[in-house]
């Protein structure tokens, strides 16, 4: 979108977007607003520069001069060097499904692709794909989901448990903007959260924390992500963990 395109079809103007650049730089906007702003600044160097300036100011606000805790660097190094562990009982549990929850006849395309195989080497690195997990007003997000569904260049997955119960639909547009329609998921206890994972080669990498009761969640996933999985984890999620074997998973097609 160029600066001369001063209005979206729903009345959202470039002035609206400009006014939000400060809040955007502080991560203080809703997911749908974030999406629009990112589209805007991608083609608007002036706006991109303004965001960068705001972020630099925020950098200075953040400066506390504290020291990182002892031992943290050692843990990072250990993670870098750590060989992929074998799946074990300490990994995430299979996600339960409510009785009577709707079933769909179509199963995820897991026939030729085995997540269990892909997950035999369970992740070492959690953050490589993490960009932004957002939640917000579901109505505009549903409209965005519909648009992605209708786009022939988009990718989609249906996340299915081993017993065939379908839980969640995921769609990802051609730019890697993903939407997870999580409102069919049962609400978890307060000390639990759903966690979203992406499968890249033999690695399963955290995309983000969804909370105990997600509705529509936006995220970003690069083209290398071949499949998506959801697990249940302790509150706050886990940095390097995951057991897609048994969790709800789906191949992106």
């Amino acid at each position: 979108m160029s600066e001369t395109d001063d209005k979206y079809t729903d009345g959202w103007t470039t002035d609206d977007t400009d006014e939000l650049l400060g809040a955007y730089a502080l991560d203080a906007v809703e997911p749908e607003e974030r999406r629009r702003i990112e589209e805007y600044i991608a083609s608007n160097p002036r706006a991109a520069a303004e965001v960068q300036q705001h972020r630099e100011v925020a950098t200075m606000l953040a400066y506390t001069g504290s020291d990182a805790p002892d031992g943290l660097w050692d843990r990072i190094v250990a993670t870098i060097e750590e060989p992929a562990p074998a799946p074990g009982p300490e990994l995430a549990r299979v996600m339960p499904m409510d009785e009577g929850r709707r079933r769909r006849t179509r199963r995820a395309a897991l026939g030729r692709w085995s997540l269990a195989t892909a997950a035999a080497a369970v992740l070492a690195i959690s953050a490589a794909l993490v960009i932004d997990i957002g939640r917000g007003d579901p109505d505009p997000l549903r409209a965005a989901v519909e648009a992605v569904r209708a786009d022939r260049d988009s990718r989609a997955a249906e996340l299915v448990a081993a017993d065939g119960d379908l839980a969640v639909e995921v769609v990802i547009d051609e730019k890697g903007r993903g939407y997870l329609i999580g409102d069919v998921l049962p609400q978890l206890q307060r000390d639990q959260t759903y966690q979203l994972w992406g499968v890249v080669g033999d690695d399963v990498i955290s995309i983000g924390i969804l909370g105990p009761n997600p509705e529509i969640v936006t995220f970003t996933a690069r083209a290398e992500v071949a499949a998506i999985a959801i697990t249940i984890e302790p509150e706050g999620g886990v940095v390097s963990d995951g057991n897609p074997e048994g969790a709800y998973v789906g191949e992106l097609t």
Binding site: E19, L20, L21, G22, A23, A25, L26, D27, A28, V29, E30, A48, Q52, Q53, H54, R55, E56, V57, A58, T59, M60, L61, A62, Y63, T64, G65, S66, D67, A68, P69, L72, W73, R75, I76, V77, T79, I80, I125, S126, A127, A128, V130, D132, I133, R135, R190, T193, G208, I209, L210, G211, P212, N213, E235, G236, G237, V239
Partner: protein, 193 residues
């Protein structure tokens, strides 16, 4: 023989990280991990989770150094931006399970956002504190609640009883004013490194 990285620029460090030089990551960690941890802990108020976020931030730098573009800002701002986004994500994950009434508890929500009490006695921090204190009250509170409280501008507006448009304008204007004030006293983004 490998060159000592202690004098290398941040951009050179990232190039070296891209070549799998762990000593370059160690140097980046030495320079910036304290600030990243400080921000994460301030936002999350939880040592263990703050440490997890720091770990994520530096692991992403290790795994995907190309995301950092030195033409678009400093390494510190890049790392802090990731740290802030991830911390806010965790905060919102927490708050999503709470009632809105809890989130609207104005009396307590405004406590603990006094930058002056948490920023250490450093030259840069002192200037930042002065500049922040010099902002109009509405701008300062909006920025503090959004940045250090992990709130959206809409939540800030609700909390302060202001119009959403007012709050987003105040955040933007306040950031611009802060930048101008800091530039005037010779502080640039790189000055906090």
């Amino acid at each position: 023989m490998r060159r000592d990285l202690s004098d290398a620029s941040d951009a050179a460090l990232v190039v070296a990280i891209g070549r799998y030089r762990q000593d370059a990551l160690a140097e980046a960690y030495r320079r910036h991990a304290g600030a990243v941890f400080g921000l994460a802990k301030r936002l999350l108020r939880d040592q263990a989770r703050a440490e997890e976020v720091v770990q994520e931030v530096f692991l992403r730098l290790w795994n995907d150094p190309n995301r950092f573009d030195p033409d678009r800002g400093t390494l510190r701002s890049y790392l802090l931006a990731h740290c802030h986004g991830r911390s806010v994500d965790l905060i919102r994950s927490d708050t999503s399970r709470r009632s809105r009434e809890e989130r609207e508890a104005k009396a307590t929500a405004e406590e603990g956002y006094d930058v002056a009490h948490e920023v250490l006695d450093l030259a840069v921090a002192g200037h930042v504190r002065d500049a922040l204190d010099g902002l109009p009250d509405g701008e300062r509170r909006a920025i503090e609640l959004a940045y250090f409280g992990g709130r959206t501008y809409r939540e800030v507006a609700e909390q302060l009883g202001e119009a959403e448009g007012t709050v987003k304008s105040r955040i933007r204007a306040g950031l611009r004013r802060l930048r101008s004030e800091l530039v005037d006293v010779g502080i640039t983004a790189g000055g906090a490194t």
